[in-house]
Point group: C2
Chain length 379, copies 2
């Protein structure tokens, strides 16, 4: 196969004048060394974790695009506090895009790398928003023959995050899980995992249609935060499942605190669990997303055995170790289009991704909104 000598790649850069830009540049086609492969990236999702690197603390509502086609430059203002927090990335052209999938088009001279040529693989490791990506062969997850690059584009972030929630539950000694924004791609995966593994899961959603969707998938506990009796529903579900661990994708507002309140009220139904300082069982909420960017508000009316913290997949995998990571990856490849199937709101090209109106749409972190970037799509 003859490869082009250059390819297009997207970057995000923070400038000292208080703006953040995203643009595209022509890069030299890499030559794979021993143990490396070059993947033609055919599909790569735009996840909330990508949006953090792409836009940081920039003000997306002030976005504008100058230039045309592959010369498009997307530009946004950054408030002073954002500049301070992001100081360390100043003037660095950051490669973006955490994961994706495509065809192996070149390989180093070792047998394993050579064996991958022509295969469809999923890869993770940054810099995926480009037409080609050279990675260590060991990092690639070969897909089954019947699976396409679009099937495998989201093989890592959502599947491994959903699997990690169950791992954390076991590692930290909890009995069941609570999950918010539960009708998302990730939430649906988590339902399939928990049903297969016999783990009780309390799903929190915001709309009746999301209740119906999850109930239709066989979910046993689904509570709607828009209902007047939400707290009563949640407390009942937490009491029945004995869930003391929650993963919250929304981040802002009172939801994390409401979950802790429900856990405490559920614990208070069992007097032996109760002391004068509240329930003695540790109750934990991990915030792993920021669908709601407003501040998190904690009422603290749930005793003295609680914690809230951030959850980030790479930090968890590093802590859990290679063996756990390999086990979780293997399960993803086996169940790619069943347990770990993703769906997308729209498919866009790299040039489209740099248009201000398009960026404002894929930046809108509404539950279930997820764009797929196709680096070889025209325009």
């Amino acid at each position: 196969m003859t490869l082009p000598s250059t390819y297009l790649k997207m970057h995000s850069t923070l400038h000292a004048n208080g703006t953040l830009t995203m643009d595209m540049s022509e890069e030299a086609m890499p030559a794979p060394k021993t143990g490396e492969i070059v993947v033609r990236v055919e599909a790569t999702p735009i996840n909330p974790s990508d949006l953090g690197v792409m836009f940081g603390w920039a003000n997306i509502s002030g976005a504008t695009t100058e230039g045309e086609g592959t010369s498009s430059v997307l530009s946004m203002p950054v408030p002073p506090q954002g500049m301070a927090v992001m100081k360390a990335r100043l003037d660095q052209r950051l490669a973006i895009g955490n994961e994706g999938a495509g065809t192996v088009v070149a390989a180093g001279d070792d047998d394993y790398s050579q064996s991958l040529i022509g295969k469809t693989v999923a890869i993770m490791g940054g810099g995926m928003y480009g037409q080609y990506r050279c990675v260590p062969s060991m990092m690639a997850l070969p897909l089954k023959d019947e699976h396409s690059a679009k099937d495998g584009a989201s093989s890592f972030v959502n599947p491994l995050t959903a699997l990690s929630m169950v791992e954390v539950m076991k590692m930290e000694g909890h009995k069941a899980l609570v999950h918010t924004a539960a009708a998302s791609n990730l939430g649906q995966m988590l339902n399939r995992i928990c049903q297969a593994d016999g783990v009780d899961l309390v799903n929190i959603v915001r709309k009746q249609e999301q209740v119906d969707l999850l109930k239709g998938m066989g979910a046993k506990y689904v509570v709607n935060s828009s209902d007047d009796d939400f707290m009563a529903q949640l407390t009942d579900a937490v009491h029945e499942t004995a869930a003391t661990l929650a993963f919250d994708a929304t981040g802002g507002g009172t939801l994390a605190s409401d979950i802790l309140t429900a856990m405490e009220m559920a614990a208070a139904r069992t007097p032996s669990e109760y002391s004068i300082y509240g329930s003695t069982t540790h109750k934990q909420v991990y915030i792993y997303g920021g669908l709601d960017v407003s501040p998190t508000t904690l009422s603290r009316n749930y005793g003295f055995a609680w914690g809230i913290g951030a959850f980030l997949l790479p930090n968890f995998l590093a802590k859990a170790g290679m063996e756990v990571a390999a086990r979780l990856r293997g399960r993803v490849a086996d169940e790619l289009t069943t347990t770990f199937a993703s769906s997308y709101t729209d498919e866009i090209s790299m040039v489209e991704a740099l248009q201000a109106d398009v960026a404002q749409r894929y930046f809108a972190k509404a539950t279930g909104t997820k764009y797929l970037l196709l680096p070889h799509k025209d325009i």
Copy 2:
């Protein structure tokens, strides 16, 4: 010594009709068994941790007192959510008062208990708001001959909490501490401990006179949250000390979040510590009090390596184990009137403690306000 046949003891009770009452009852004088002592309680502090048990979620501003003298009954309304959270204590006459000190007036027939007769000891274990208390001899901390019951009244809660902060710092791998409401009795103890042990401590206070007080004690880092450049001062101090652990006595408002923001901005000054998802060093705030009862507000603009949780001394000591607890207790006895000296706003009798106006005063959780209850004081 001839002991009276009965003594007075205070209780707090939650009633199904939505009120909480505190009153006093006459109890039979206990006869100490082998391994036990009876202590004539002469001084016992009213700590924030006691207030939680005394008043729970009752509305103190609606407090009234009926009856007179030892028949006084203090009564307060409890809002519905408070009733739900406190359900497990319904109709229980809870003994109150965590710690205190006094003279050993009777003892079981074993040599160790007998050896304590006439000695002044500090004790912890609940039910201290009464004129006498029977406890296992091993739980008593014998004071040095030159120390009075008033000297030893606060030998446990504040001293062990302050010492535990330094223990947690070491156990969780942090290098320095941040402490809020730092001019309190506990905060002053913590300064003396940290200076003696060579631990860097960033003190946060709200008034210039508190800055002066702590600087006068030799504190190196004192920042005033009322200053316009508070965040800059705090970030500088956190950067100099590399503090990534804070203990917050206030609980409410933005202070816990501001501390995490300062830690993140300090980390961003060292680019190697920084990743695109923010600083990778875990930053932790433990809330151990509720001087500000308003909700805790988290801006979450500090990456993905942070946690906030509640800290409760008994839970920590249980986790740390007997050996650590014994080491900390020994240090308290040795340094009772130096490192661990307490001062009090006022001294009151048990009858006074049941008067609504007095209760509203000692319930006011202003920094540095601390009442000493004298169970044998007249009226």
